[in-house]
Amino acid sequence: MTGCNEYKLNQGPEDGISAVKFSPSTAHFLLVSSWDCTVRLFDVGGNSMRLKYQHAAPVLDCAFYDPTHSWSGGLDAKLKTHDLNTDQDTIVGTHDAPIRCVEYCPEVNVMVTGSWDRSVRLWDPRTPCNAGTFTQPDKVYTLSVAGDRLIVGTAGRRVLVWDLRNMGYVQQRRESSLKYQTRCIRAFPNKQGYVLSSIEGRVAVEYLDPSQEVQKKKYAFKCHRLKEEGIENVYPVNAISFHSIHNTFATGGSDGFVNIWDPFNKKRLCQFHRYPTSIASLAFSNDGTMLAIASSYMFEKGDISHPEDAIFIRQVTDAETKPKST
């Protein structure tokens, strides 16, 4: 099934994959968090696992702080940082409930975590220590950093935009423009907006600038739907990843497909073959040459038998990721 431009990673996690993240400096390393309570670092070029470390419970998200430090959190509600050179753990702090998201904001040099305890916490990665707790209206399901702004998606279809330099108040409170639960939010690399995906086969492109002209440009479209015998099967859209150079993005759904979209011309650039099961996470490498695809059942239909969890590394070309100039 896998062609010459794509291969499966060896020594992958033994349970569901929650997140894949490329190193900020090179397309050589990939961080993977999993429900098997581990975080693994892969050597992508050599197709081997460099190291793994354990959490006390399943890990829901991980992020690079710099090429040698990873941060991760999960159901044990503890935030860990791991030195990838010395293979040493530090517990930085805790949330009151499982940690759902971990992100790094290079502009402000702060780590951001979002949790089901209805809060976002900031962490100073140098010390490392807690740098503030900010209550959200509901459980945090997803978050993304756009420059010095933080976009938080919570239960109840709420979206909050915070200014990481001034966390005194919420900069914008929005309601998701989609009707159903928010699954994923990712900011444009150009920091002008974000893409939000919902549990019912729909993706919205939104802009941060509140002025009328800019807001007029926002739109939403249907995707990750398959027609079978006259009935449209609607799948959750679980993962979004932006191409850092072209500002195009890939979406992954529970239908097992990965699509790449051109948000400026409102066109689909390409669709890859169908992966064995749901796409749980996607990550473009920093230079935009590779896409890591986590194909992992997410219990959308309960605890049933399912294909093996796997991570695929795909080399992508400009033809697949560059907006067609008209």
């Binding site: 044990d76 503890k78 805790t94």
Partner: protein
């Protein structure tokens, strides 16, 4: 006010919503003393526990979880209000089991329906819907609640008729039905009697007077809104507490709350009232109909009348120099999401007033959709366990659901090892840390 615990309760009596079955004093004390705490408070943990149990329960009596959850919510949030989410819970619970025939005459389920109906703007519709669906038709409590609603609205005949229906359907328990039926009859006959008594010395107050200690009918969806006009039809026509016929009659002539329709009297009153009042001033000209002298009809142009009654031919009145006052209530209030400061945020537009949607309508729609889905008429199908994510008062995501499963497995594992079985979701962190 002897103990410290009593003080709380004494100070916040007005915040406690009445419950049919009363409240557990210890739960009440706890609820009142535990206000103002963060998301880690015991209440939130308990709530989270119920929410997860709703989704992970795999026994053969799923209703029991809902029943316990709702009773707990009632006791724990004595103020009612949004945080308890009681209305949502009731709606979800009721919707969840509409197709489960085995619950249709389960007293717990019927009780939920009655609570749901009381939360609806139109309880009677709900009761009729229940009857049509065959929910509670063999339960006395259903008929009692239905009848009481009719009585509230002043239709005693219908209230009585409901009991006839109940007897026909052999609703159980029969004794209770009989007792309530007798009480109804006693109340009605007492009112008729009072009415007759009043007629002999009828000093009907011409101005409607406010009645002291009368229950007001609530307006709108939320019970909290009392009508501005607190006389006449705004008053609930019931004296609920007085059910035994031997109880002393509290209402006196001026303050009576029950009005029994008497056709004999109504007939007499109708024409006489009209003659009572003479015109204080000539009626305004706009009320006059046939101003014009009779004449030829054809070739006549009818002057167009505006809604104010002026004919268009007349010179338009000069524009008033003042701004006419418009009642705020004249325009439908535009719904706005809570707490949006326009100075900070102009992204969100005001929420448009949604089309009138009652809980019952939603329920019927859901039922309809379910039927269509079964018949295979549906155009779209969600490829995930939507029911599980959306049941209860708060939504879950896949990861939360999966987390509950893994906590449950963990707890089972530790139990088998002989260790203390810690409950799945109560303290997620604690559970995981215990490994």
């Amino acid at each position: 006010m002897a103990e410290g615990g009593d003080v709380d309760w004494e100070l916040s009596k007005e915040n406690i919503q009445p419950l049919r079955r009363g409240r557990d004093i210890s739960a009440l004390r706890q609820a009142l003393s535990q206000r103002e705490e963060g998301p880690t408070s015991a209440i939130n943990q308990q709530k989270q526990m119920f929410e997860s149990e709703l989704r992970t329960y795999d026994g053969d009596d799923p209703l029991s979880v809902w029943d316990r959850y709702i009773k707990w919510t009632e006791q724990t949030f004595p103020q009612g209000g949004k945080e308890g989410n009681l209305a949502t819970l009731l709606e979800r619970a009721v919707t969840r089991f509409t197709d489960e025939k085995m619950y249709h005459n389960d007293p717990r389920y019927v009780e939920l329906w009655i609570k749901f109906a009381e939360n609806c703007p139109e309880p009677l519709d709900t009761y009729r819907y229940m009857q049509a669906q065959g929910i509670g038709v063999r339960q006395a409590s259903f008929y009692i609640a239905w009848s009481e609603e009719y009585e509230n609205q002043g239709s005693y005949q219908k209230a009585d008729h409901v009991y006839q229906e109940a007897f026909n359907n052999l609703a159980e328990p029969h004794d209770r039905l009989l007792q309530f039926h007798r009480a109804l009859q006693a109340r009605v006959s007492r009112q008729v009697f009072l009415k007759l008594e009043n007629e002999s010395s009828d000093e009907e107050p011409k101005q409607p007077e406010r009645v002291s200690l009368a229950d007001l009918k609530h307006r709108g969806k939320k019970k909290a809104i009392a009508p501005v006009n607190r006389t006449g039809t705004a008053i609930k026509n019931i004296t609920r507490g007085l059910q035994s016929s031997g109880a002393p009659v509290l209402s006196n002539a001026a303050n009576r709350q029950l009005v029994v329709f008497d056709e004999n009297k109504a007939e007499a009153a109708g024409p006489s009232e009209a003659t009572l009042e003479s015109w204080l001033a000539p009626p305004p000209s706009k009320a006059k109909e046939n101003e014009q002298k009779p004449g030829k009809w054809c070739d006549m142009k009818m002057p167009q009348k505006t809604k104010f009654g002026h004919s268009v031919m007349a010179p338009p009145p000069p524009k008033p120099t003042f701004q006419p006052f418009v009642e705020e209530t004249d325009q439908p209030p535009t719904m706005t999401p809570c707490k949006i400061n326009p100075a900070v945020n102009s992204v969100l537009s005001a929420r448009k007033p949604s089309k009138e949607e009652t809980p019952l309508k939603r329920l019927q729609e859901h039922h309809q959709q379910h039927k269509e889905a079964e018949a295979g008429k549906l155009q779209e199908r969600s490829m995930y366990c939507k029911e599980l994510l959306l049941s209860g008062a708060t939504e879950f995501c896949f990861e939360e659901l999966r987390a509950e499963h893994s906590f449950k497995k963990l707890a089972q594992g530790s139990q088998e090892e002989g260790g203390e079985g810690c409950h799945a979701s109560a303290a997620a962190a604690a559970a995981a840390a215990a490994i």
